[in-house]
């Protein structure tokens, strides 16, 4: 607090001593003459965006900035909000704690790897933020992390500090472990059916309710001993209190329906249905509960519960007033979410801005970060991507990606970076330790194994997509 007061004092003095412009020039960026797709108030031609201290300060024509501002001429180019992926496993060193049916005590924030190259590749496709979710082997899985892809920064800078906390739930084929056969001597994990899956969740919330009661009694001085802290039930109490968002993986509409009913029974809201490939079958019921749906644009038939998936899903949900986001669940697919949004216009005819919202503002709303990001509006974080053409065009490419006004991807720097990397590689290859086998060096070190599959069901993590 004292530091804060001091800091404020220093800033105040600076403001008095110098001109306002020079104080703000510390972090000022002016994007000139772009086609700006706001994802909130339409598309603006020949428009400038002034960024000050990481926030969008002004949007308009012929804006001026201080002389020290970084000026980006975006003539002929498109600026869109940074893409937000509401379902990703990028930068996660582990995906799924699959041993128990309820793993609400586990936290994705404990396994984040800020050096995962997937982050840079996502930035190069205009993605600035993501919901990093636990896998789906458990009816109640671990706690998710909402991050911005601040490549090169320490891991704690990635986490969006004021994002509401959340948790992963799952239903269907993955939770009943239908693709996972216990080896000799292993006991199958409960549940093995959709019936059991629902009962696991019901049981957990009954226990959470009792646990909450014991704390309420203690706080009301009805009991003398404080209850023992329960890391499994505490997050569920937060759900009951409306303080934790539930992101529920599922495919078939009947399992969504069962979960929505169970949530009604316990008095909480499901923030988002993840995948929701059959959500279109019960769109009105989902709309009534103000539950969002985060879907693939058009993936289908890769497993049985995805067989009734249709690319018109987004359109039907949108028509019913459901908040729809389009996610990747994949380090590969995250690179072409712009094209996935474009497909939504084709299948049913979602209007352009609403399609754009499905990869920007809508996921921000589902994650509870829409006050700070997801659209190009004054006061919001300057999380932007600059495209060579309309982002829904297949021929479009990202030139620059900015998060809070800082550049995290700049294609014009790639040539130099590649040359530097090549030089570094040549130097390293000459080192004794890196010589090829049989040519005198010590054997090369085998790098740590990467995840092989990028959707939830990387086989060794025991999750599923």
């Amino acid at each position: 607090m004292r530091n804060f007061v001091l800091a404020s004092l220093v800033i105040s003095i600076s403001l008095i001593s110098f001109s306002i412009a020079s104080a703000q020039a510390k972090n000022e960026v002016l994007i000139k003459n772009a086609t700006v797709m706001t994802a909130a108030r339409g598309t603006l031609e020949n428009t400038d965006i002034l960024i000050q201290n990481g926030k969008i300060a002004r949007i308009g024509k012929n804006l001026n900035a201080s002389t020290s501002a970084k000026v980006i001429d975006a003539t002929g180019r498109f600026v869109a909000p940074g893409i937000i992926d509401a379902h990703s496993h990028a930068m996660m060193d582990a995906i799924n704690e699959g041993s128990l049916a309820v793993t609400s005590m586990t936290r994705i924030r404990d396994v984040l790897n800020p050096g995962d190259i997937s982050i840079y590749r996502a930035l190069a496709s205009g993605v600035t933020a993501a919901n990093l979710l636990h896998g789906s082997a458990n009816p109640i899985g671990g706690q998710n992390s909402t991050v911005k892809f601040k490549w090169g920064k320490p891991v704690e800078d990635f986490i969006v500090a004021d994002a509401p906390s959340g948790i992963k739930f799952a239903m269907g084929e993955n939770t009943k472990r239908s693709s996972f056969n216990p080896q000799g001597g292993q006991t199958p994990r409960y549940p093995r059916t959709r019936m059991g899956t629902l009962e696991v969740i019901r049981d957990a919330f009954n226990r959470a309710r009792d646990y909450k009661q014991s704390w309420d009694d203690f706080k009301a001085k009805k009991t003398k001993m404080p209850p023992r802290t329960d890391l499994e039930l505490q997050p569920l109490v937060e759900i009951l209190e409306g303080k934790r968002l539930v992101h529920a993986h599922g495919y078939r509409s009947d399992e969504h329906w069962n979960l929505l009913n169970l949530a009604d029974e316990f008095g909480f809201r499901i923030a988002s249905l993840q995948h929701g490939l059959e959500a279109y079958k019960i769109a009105p019921e989902i709309a009534k509960r103000k539950t969002g749906v985060s879907i693939f644009a058009d993936s289908w038939s890769y497993k049985l519960e995805a067989y009734d998936a249709i690319p018109y899903n987004a359109y039907i949900l949108w028509k019913n007033g459901v908040n729809v986001s389009i996610n990747s669940d994949s380090d590969e697919r995250i690179r072409r979410l712009n094209l996935d949004a474009a497909k939504v216009m084709k299948y049913g005819g979602v209007p352009e801005e609403d399609a754009l919202k499905m990869i920007t503002l809508n996921p921000a709303m589902q994650l509870g970060i829409d006050k700070r990001t997801g659209s190009i509006e004054v006061g919001k974080d300057a999380d932007l991507a600059i495209w060579t053409a309309h982002p829904f065009s297949v021929y479009s490419r990202v030139d620059m990606t900015l998060i809070e006004g800082d550049t995290y991807f700049d294609r014009s720097k790639e040539t130099q970076m590649r040359a530097d990397l090549q030089k570094e590689r040549e130097t390293l290859e000459k080192l004794d330790i890196n010589k090829a086998p049989g040519s005198g060096g010590t054997p090369p070190r085998i790098p740590a194994e990467k995840r092989l599959a990028d959707r939830d069901d990387a086989d060794r993590d025991g999750g599923n997509y």
Partner: protein
Amino acid sequence: MSFKFKVQGFKFMRFGIYLCLSVFICGHAILAQSDGSQQNKTGRGGTFAITNVRIVTVSGATIENGTVIVQNGTITAVGAGTAVPKGAETIDGKGLSVYPGMIDAGTTLGLAEIPQGVNATMDVAEVGTMNANAKAITGVNPHSSHVNVTRVNGITTVFSAPSGGIISGQGAVINLNGSTQDEMAVHSTAGLMINFPRISTFGGFGGGFGPRPTVDFSEAIKRRDTQIEELKKIFKNAENYSLAKDTYAKDKTLPYTTTDLKLEAMTPYIRGEKPIFFTVERERDIRSVVKFVADMKVKGIIVGGQEAWKVADDLKKNNIAVIYTNIYSLPVRDDDAYDFLFEGPAKLKSAGVKFAIGTGDAGGEVRDLPYHAGLAGAYGLAKEEALKAVTLYPAEILGVSDKLGSIEVGKMANLVVTDGDILEPRTNIKYMFINGRLIPLTSRHTELFDSFKDRK
């Protein structure tokens, strides 16, 4: 009921903007549901004239305003001043473009309905390492939902091929229309598939968690070399076998060689009459394919081909084309440039290697073929080349360019009429012809859409 009205009726249903306006439309909607979504409608033949249309011939110049005539399955006229034959059904192509149907040269479409968890629907990989006699054309399900879902996005033809073991079997070029495999077939045994032995340090799946076991690199090289030697032995056996069969045919006094279906199937391939498709990605492995092709004097094609551009000179020298299936793949190494695989086709083009772009998909996402090509276009490949990479080039590589791949008189009428650039995701397909039949633009997906779009 005129043809044109039917199409408009269909549009009503798709977009849900209007209520059912006529008995016909309602009737059609009910039919669509009771039809069963597995059943592929095979369209209808006849004489058709697509008039006032922009004709993207691919093989020649684009005709800004012309007519294409389709008769008995064939393109019979293309041009600006073409007369419409009497009795032809006319499609007004004003504001529209007609393209040759797209061809995906790298799929297992029809062999894999539900890849994960439903083995009963999987017919991709036979047991064992040598299955030259396994033919995709006998495994493809003409009534697969992947057929109708894929074609309504403008893909009229695919190369579908098995992928198991080392010699996987023979792939087929099929049109995405037909009640039988014969009706679908354009070239029922178009190529032999080989998963070429490669250097792999894979040491099994291991148990439970933790890193997977690996074998020593020098051990991996030995393993690869042994496999190549075994493969060469199979080729040698097949050569001896066909020689023995031929000799016996000429002189019945010689000992008879009993028929071996697997070796028999190899004959046209070891003789270089038909191409062998080698699935391979890395530079070093592609180099060993080139050597194998030269040593064995066979006709080779690379499938996959991540680093094929690095071997451009050798590929050109040996007339080896590349079916590039890596647009939707992640670069293998962390320090590869982020667009390393997006740029593959552009690099192949500038190196002068013959290439096509395929999805490499099992079926569900083959319909994304135009976007694979388009993304290559975003990363250095000229737009016209991107289009050729999914039309004319695959037709040439698959040996069917006499029938497919461009809009030319005498070719099979596989045509797609669009309201924009066929490679763009926002473009809508308005009409399509396969083998001269006008195909309804319905699919498992439009039928489910119709069933649920108005549910309150």
